[in-house]
Amino acid sequence: MRIDKDLVAASATPLVLGILAEDASSYGYAILKRIRELSDGNMEWTDGMLYPLLHRLERLGQVKSTWQTSDQGRRRKHYALTEAGRQALADRQSQWAVVSETLDRIWHTRTQLPAIPQAVTP
């Protein structure tokens, strides 16, 4: 199943914040691998677009970055969640909860509607 582009874009920030909340810090490629893994490859990103997003979060003070050296001896930029980032993640989570609950309800009632007359007739 392909997920609509707008939906991917809307969920990008909470996804990245959520993944960063899992570990002390992470780097771009690992974050992307984790997204593929969690969504069973259904959420397709253009890899490069992750970085402007990370930089934006850094500007807003939600993540902090440090340069570290990878096992292969390459320079790698690590990102870690800040206190403000944790707060933002909590905000996003409650917003998404409302959205998904609302959708749930409407889909739930719609599937139930035809069932009501059957329950009354006997």
């Binding site: 771009g28 253009t46 490069g48 402007p52 850094e58 500007r59």
Partner: protein, 443 residues
């Protein structure tokens, strides 16, 4: 792994002005990680490289996305990369457009001077010149017809009001205040066109603030150069006994001053990377000096509190000082890399703003009784209103700045406050232009 291919990819990406070396290193690290994983899953080196590059996305789109996020970089490097074929042609066209519009501004000012009553001309100076700058950006930004029409309607409304208002005479204070505030209002209105109609975006508003600072510097440089040239021409004609004063001061000076407004805008647009953001540099140089000035003022007030009472125009001077402090603060903040941690310069800015607030409060408190006693003249009311607006801005700025240097808030919060506050000044200028005359009986 095919180092050669990665090398070529890096060179290709590095040509993009909006990507720094650190960004490229970050992307390259990603690419290498992806290639390694793909090879491990059974692809050949070439296949792995192709897939990884494809997944990374088109470099054009990527650099555009980086440009949106890092608009302060875009600002420094707006000039397209040298290997762009359409570039030199586009810049040539741009120059001609700027020259034509500059001539238009010069001619319309000169025509106004020749055909309008002096009284009406004084009211309309900025209405005669600024539309040409608006036209330049309307063309540059390719803004929608709706935006152009609304801004034009705003200009027309201001012009109509200024002409229709029955100010007492040429010297009346309300007229003078309207004339001073009109360019501010019109300039901020022009900002809507400058940001391509996207006036809700805080980051685009910041670009407009940067533009304003650079424009002022360029205009000052052009004025200084033009002034020197005029003086030389006058002296030379004098030496050969030709009286050129009328030609120089009634034709060359006003037309040059009007045309320079458009040319300065063009210079900021196209030469940004030559003089790299001079306004922030000036802000950094003058911030410590201004702190010294303010501290000296505080000491003077403390040593002799009576001095505050003597000078009635102290309030106006204080307001000008606050404008200066705000400008220093804005340009220092707008130019700092948003990710950089707080440093000494940021502390200095906070000290600057806090001392300015202190000095202003001392003056306001000392003058409160005095103002009540003397009554509110149009001048004093305008100065007091602006003073309070600036004080609110600076107080919140100081608070946010302090939170920033202590690591509590990102500098983005400070930027947002400044860009959110911008319409307040436009509203204030509009209030003074529109209401001051009727409120103070056209005095």
């Amino acid at each position: 792994m095919s180092e050669h291919q990665i090398e070529q990819w890096r060179k290709h990406v590095q040509r993009r002005a909006t990507l720094t070396n650190d960004d490229v290193a970050e992307l390259e690290e990603h690419l290498r990680g992806q290639v390694d994983d793909l090879i491990a899953s059974g692809l050949t080196e070439d296949e792995a490289f192709l897939v990884a590059v494809k997944r990374m996305g088109s470099v054009d789109e990527l650099s555009r996305e980086f440009a949106i996020e890092h608009s302060e970089r875009l600002w420094k490097q707006l000039v397209l990369t040298a290997d762009d074929p359409g570039e030199s042609r586009a810049r040539g066209r741009d120059l001609w457009l700027a020259i034509c519009l500059g001539v238009g501004a010069a001619l319309s000012l000169r025509a106004g001077l020749a055909w309008l009553d002096e009284d009406v001309f004084v009211r309309l100076v900025s209405v005669l010149v600024l539309p040409w700058v608006v036209a330049y950006f309307a063309w540059k930004r390719d803004v929608s017809a709706r935006t152009v029409v609304s801004v034009a309607a705003g200009y027309a409304a201001v012009a109509a009001l200024l002409v229709a208002y029955p100010f007492h005479d040429e010297q009346s204070d309300t007229l003078l205040l309207a004339v001073i505030h009109t360019p501010i209002l019109l300039w901020l209105l022009m900002g809507v066109v400058y940001v391509g109609g996207d006036w809700r975006s805080g980051r685009r508003r910041m670009d407009f603030i940067r533009f304003t600072g650079e424009w002022a510097v360029y205009y000052f440089l052009l004025a200084a150069g033009g002034g020197l040239l005029l003086a030389l021409a006058g002296a030379t004609f004098n030496a050969v006994n030709i009286d050129a004063a009328v030609f120089l001061f009634e034709w060359v000076l006003p037309m040059g001053a009007a045309g320079a407004a458009v040319i300065a805008a063009w210079l900021v647009e196209s030469k940004q990377n030559v003089i790299e953001n001079i306004a922030p540099v000036l802000a950094r140089v003058f911030s410590p000096l201004t702190v010294l000035l303010l501290v000296a003022l505080l000491i003077a007030f403390a040593a002799n509190p009576d001095v505050i009472d003597v000078e009635r125009e102290l309030l106006i001077l204080m307001t000008v000082i606050l404008v200066l402090v705000l400008a220093l603060w804005l340009y220092a903040v707008s130019a700092r890399p948003p990710q950089a941690p707080a440093g000494l310069a940021d502390w200095l800015q906070v000290v600057l703003v806090v001392t300015a607030i202190l000095v202003d409060l001392v003056v306001l408190i000392a003058m409160a009784s005095r103002i009540a006693e003397l009554g509110l003249t149009p001048n004093r009311a305008a100065a007091l209103g602006l003073n309070i607006l600036l004080l609110v801005n600076l107080a919140v700025s100081a608070w946010l700045g302090l939170a920033f240097v202590r690591g509590r808030r990102p500098v983005a919060a400070l930027e947002r406050w400044q860009t959110d506050y911008l319409p307040v000044y436009a509203a204030w200028a509009a209030v003074v232009v529109v209401l001051w005359g009727p409120l103070f009986d056209w005095a």
